[in-house]
Subunit: 200 residues, 2 copies
């Protein structure tokens, strides 16, 4: 085993350190966040920081980084409409999904630019991703500034869920292997998920 102490980590090459710190927590979920501005401009951005925060009420957190302008459009749209969608990235779309992390002008929709299809449900403004087999819509309910860096934790409450029926069993469990949902490590490595077991 190789041990890196604090000084060795600080002394590492910057890009190596960023890759290592971004992958050290293990696998992360690959999700596309869909939003729309008050003027009707849609936006789509990949996030690997979506996490479950509680089931009653159903709260979902995600991290907004300060210097990632590419994701500021998502945030501005969330503020304008109060809504957003989270859509699992299917394995066959990882290249297109990853491309949404490039810098596009605000008036360009990543849906069109990266080859995804907008899908809507009645009574909810934010666009879903039609290519995604597990998707859900949220209302933004809380924003928490983090003192130790300039990130913000965005908390949303689940308003609706859209899933391919076969992926949900009668106990409420989802089959992520069957859904072909992707995982991500660090900033740019994508993984397939193979189900091993459920401990009942």
């Amino acid at each position: 085993m190789k041990t890196f102490n604090k000084e060795e980590l600080a002394g590492m090459d910057r890009s190596m350190r960023i890759n290592l710190f971004n992958s050290i927590t293990g696998i992360k979920p690959a999700n596309l966040v869909g939003t729309i501005s008050a003027a009707g401009q849609t936006n789509l951005a990949i996030f690997s920081s979506v996490f479950h925060m509680g089931s009653d009420p159903a709260l979902i957190g995600m991290i907004l980084r300060p210097h990632r302008e590419v994701r500021r459009d998502s945030y501005e749209n969330m503020k304008e409409t109060g809504q957003y969608t989270i859509n699992h990235v299917p394995l066959h779309s990882i290249e297109s999904a990853h491309k949404t992390s490039s810098r596009f002008e605000k008036e360009i929709s990543e849906f069109l630019e990266c080859g995804f299809t907008e899908d809507y449900i009645e009574g909810f403004k934010a666009p879903f991703v039609k290519e995604s087999r597990i998707r859900f819509g949220l209302s933004l309910v809380e924003e928490i500034p983090v003192k130790h860096n300039q990130t913000t934790i965005l908390i949303g409450q689940i308003e609706n869920i859209v899933i391919e029926a076969a992926l949900l069993d009668e106990t409420g469990r989802l089959d992520l292997e069957e859904a072909q949902t992707a995982g991500v490590s660090g900033l740019d490595s994508y993984y397939q998920l193979v189900k091993k077991t459920t401990f009942l």
Copy 2:
């Protein structure tokens, strides 16, 4: 596609709703959190809510749920020593790792009870998991209460990293497939990770 609106979600059977809300975000990292009390009693608990919050400083978040007494021991130890470790769960240990979520008395160490081996590095109090091939030690730096439920976001700063050298490439990326690191969905389903691609 099947759509559930807010009323349909609220009307779902409680255990089905809990399973669904816990798995809706996609794959989660399976990590064991190691702690030690001031009196020297060790504790080990599985967490699926560990997430990256930034690389400079290197901050890692996790969610502490209010009613999970099993994880209060971890929290009390973190407060006593200011330190904890996060250890990837290897696939061959998912059954033992899952078992740490059972209720054990405070004076019982889940290391011993669930078949894991304590491992220490010089100058750091909290115990690492010897069976884990990717592990890191943290100092607790910030605690954030969430208004919309009774959870707390715990934020730690990375102090050290211990990894099997072959799992880290020269760019700082970790191979989670080679590491046999497990992912988790919902409360009790475990997944193997198969690397598909890195977009450079």
